[in-house]
Structures are given as C-alpha cells and as structure tokens.
C-alpha cells in the first residue's frame, strides 16, 4: 500500500481504505411507506440498509435479545451466527409495542451496542421529546418527513467519525513511524495542512512543536480539534448540530 503524505496512511496498519465504504444502517419504522422512503434515501447516499418494522425485530437482528437471556455473564462477543453488524441505527419514535425511545434506551444500556449512534425520527416536533431522546444518548433527532439533506448530514457525520477513528489508530501506532518520516512530514506541512501525528517520543528532531493541536483538515468534520491526544478508545462523539435541527419548520399547520 502506497504511503500517502498527508499523514493518515503512514502506518501500514491503517485501515483507512474502508473509511467511506459500506456504512451499514439499520432502519426501524412501522410504516411501510416510510421504510421505503428512508431505504431509498440511504441507498442513494451510498449506505447499505436493513429495514425492519419494529424495535423488537431490530433487537433480535442485533442479537441483543439473546444477550439479555443469557444467564451466564459471557463476554460481549457477538451472540449468534445471524447477528447483524451495523454502523448506525435510525428509528421512528412512535411505534406500537416498543417505541423508538425504548429501543434507544435498550441500545444505550447494552455494553456491546451502546457505541452505535442512534438517530430518532418523528413527525412531531416536540421539544420535550427531542430533549429526552438526546439525553438518553441519541445522536440526532430528525423531524419527518426525512429529506436527502438530513441523510447527507448523517452521512457526513459518519464519515467524520471514521476519520477520527483512523486518527486515533494512527496515534496508537505512531510509534511505528521512524523519525525520518516524521521529519519529511513536518517539512511538507509547511505547504499543506499539517499531518495528524502525535509525537509520543519527546526527542523529535523536528523544529516544529509537536504539541500543537492541529485544526481539523476536512471540511466535513465538525469544528472541534481532533482527539489526537486523548487516550479514550472511542472517539468522543461530537453531536451534530442538533439544536438547529430541532427547530426545523415543517411548514404544515
């Protein structure tokens, strides 16, 4: 694999090849019309989609129901052979049986699945409902009808998550990089955006300070400094611009 000079692919262990490929979304909605629409919106945005009609079925597909039934506390490895691996869950709020909120709670309570971002959709623009969902850990709240711009926003967010996750991996494997390469990168950084390398060794021969917090490079990233120096494994999920989305006018009534 050729090494790119932007810093993201210096480590041969980088799997940034899979960055934008196959975001798998689990869509949950009891309305067939809405399922068809959300499925199309996601597919046209290059996502892989699995659409189900209830929270119960969603949990079953994820393998969460089996997890609860286990009497012995086994590890958090995947439960069965037909367990789905998803990158994002998007669910309707108002559903018979299990509401989207209850589904959200179950997912956030699960050690295996709570890192999966959950987006709630609702035709009702009720602030209390929105707040409740966000407090429970929902990544975003979309007022229906869902539009392409809503899906694009989520897609961009997922892409930025991938980038940050790769950056964290880079940080962890940065000790593999020899100093000569570091030097090369810092030289290049004068003309282009600085590479996202953290210098774990303090004796860098580079003249540049290694403790700078580099601004995010990609325009699609949310404007917060990348978590280069944080040691927490999952990248801190910066929330989408939810406050502005909440108050989206539906134009009805």
């Amino acid at each position: 694999m050729s090494e790119k000079m932007d810093g993201f692919d210096l480590s041969p262990n980088s799997n940034s090849d899979n960055e934008e490929e196959g975001v798998h979304v689990l869509a949950v909605d009891d309305s067939l019309v809405d399922r068809k629409v959300i499925e199309r919106l996601l597919k046209i945005s290059s996502c892989k989609v699995t659409a189900v009609d209830s929270g119960w079925r969603a949990l079953k597909l994820l393998g969460l129901l089996d997890e609860e039934d286990k009497s012995s506390s086994s590890s958090s490895s995947s439960a069965g052979f037909d367990v789905l691996k998803v990158d994002l869950i998007i669910t309707d709020y108002c559903m018979p049986g299990m509401t989207g909120y209850e589904l959200l709670k179950k997912i956030k309570e699960s050690t295996t699945f709570r890192e999966i971002p959950v987006v709630i959709m609702s035709s009702e623009n009720v602030v209390a409902r929105i707040d409740r969902c966000l407090e429970e850990g929902a990544e975003d709240f979309i007022v229906k009808p869902v539009k392409l711009s809503d899906v694009k926003r989520i897609r961009d967010y997922m892409a930025s998550r991938e980038v940050r996750s790769v950056q964290n991996q880079e940080e962890r494997s940065s000790s593999n990089i020899n100093k000569r390469k570091l030097q090369e990168c810092f030289d290049l950084s004068l003309s282009s955006s600085p590479p996202s390398i953290s210098s774990s060794s303090s004796s860098s021969s580079s003249s540049s300070s290694s403790s700078l917090s580099y601004p995010s490079r990609s325009p699609s990233l949310t404007p917060s400094p990348p978590s280069l120096f944080s040691s927490s494994a999952p990248c801190s999920p910066s929330s989408l611009d939810s406050p502005t989305r909440r108050l989206k006018m539906t134009g009805f009534d």
Binding site: D30, S31, L32, V33, D34, K36, V37, R40, L41, I44, C94, P96, S123, K144, P145, V146, K147, L148, T250, G251, F252, D253
Partner: protein, 198 residues
C-alpha cells in the same frame, strides 16, 4: 398529428404538477421523492405512492368502521390510525390530506363523534381527489423521465396506438396501422404519423 411529441406531454405533466402544488395538494416532499429516482430505480415514486394508496385505504376503512359503530368510544384507537395516515401522507408530500388528518385528530381529542364524522367525510374526499390526480400524473410522468427503458416505451407507444417494434438505444422504430414502420431516430424527435385507438 405531427408535432405532438414528448414536449407536449411534458408540458401537460408540468401543468398538472403546478396545479397540484398551487392547490396545496402536494408539497416539496413530493419533489424530494422525484429526486430519488434514477435509472436504477425509475419507478420509485409510483411504487411508494401505490404503497401509500394501499395503506391509506385500509386506514380509511378502519376509521369509517370505527365511527359507524353506534357504540364507538375508542378515540385512542382512532388517534393511532390517524397518526399513521398523517405520517405517511407527510412522507409522500400529500399536504392537504395530512392537514385534514390534523383537524380530524383535534375532533378526536375532543371526543366529538359528529366532528369526527365530518372530518372523515372531508378526509375521504381529499384522498379521492389526490388519488385521481396522481393517477393522471403517473400516466404521463414515468414515460418522460426514462423514455429509454423498455417498459415505459412500450406503454408510451401503445397509448398512442403504435405497437413497438424494437428499440436500439435511443433509436425507436414504430409500426404504424398500415403495417409500415416509422423510425423516429430519438425520443425527442418523436412524431406520430398515424393514430389508431388502442
């Protein structure tokens, strides 16, 4: 006969769409659905709309069934049906149907049976109007969007009395009533040489 062509049909369709927008029957969500169509999914809008019709008619039947019962009292159940109809109507851009649902729901929350009956009548009327107009629209629309797909071409030709001989990329050959074939060269150049009622 000459000069009919695709342009006229396109103009008809646009006129109809514009009218529906002007009347508030459809809103921008319908346009959003149109944007989701492409060669891989050329009939997306009509597929979704057909599902909508199917689901809505079931819900309308349920609503009528509930209200026709003299001992009806389950307003909560009615509210559930209404919410479903409201949601799917909004998802396809059926603005007027959705708005009537909102008013209907208000009557339901007031437990007013006469209010609900009136709202149901209005809802059924609006729904019928929408269905008729969308059927009209779909007669023309898919043919104009992807005229090179075989299915649509077939329909297109048969509507105007031709049986389709074959299509080679954008080259269309039509067989006329007298057995002769007419090649149009491209869909945009389509001319109707003879008309024979289908």
């Amino acid at each position: 006969m000459l000069g009919w062509g695709v342009d006229r049909l396109r103009a008809d369709m646009n006129r109809l769409l514009a009218m529906l927008f002007h009347q508030g029957v459809l809103d921008e969500q319908f346009l959003q659905l149109q944007q989701l169509e492409d060669e891989s999914s050329p009939n997306f809008v009509s597929e979704v709309v057909n599902i909508y019709f199917h689901e809505s008619e079931k819900l309308l039947r349920n609503l009528r069934g509930l209200l026709m019962d003299r001992e009806f009292s389950d307003y909560k159940k009615m509210g559930t049906h209404l919410n479903q109809l409201m949601g799917s109507s909004s998802s396809i851009g059926a603005k007027r149907v959705r708005n009537v649902c909102v008013a209907f729901r208000a009557s339901s929350e007031q437990n007013s049976r006469p209010g609900c009956l009136r709202a149901l009548e209005l809802l059924e009327h609006e729904y019928c109007y929408l269905k008729n107009k969308l059927h009209e629209l779909f007669q023309v629309r898919p043919l104009l969007t992807f005229p090179n797909t075989f299915q649509n071409s077939d329909l297109f030709a048969s509507r105007f009395g031709f049986s389709l001989v074959y299509i080679v990329t954008s080259d269309v050959k039509l067989r006329c009533a007298d057995g002769s074939t007419e090649s149009t060269g491209s869909w945009s150049d389509l001319r109707f040489v003879t008309m024979e009622s289908v």
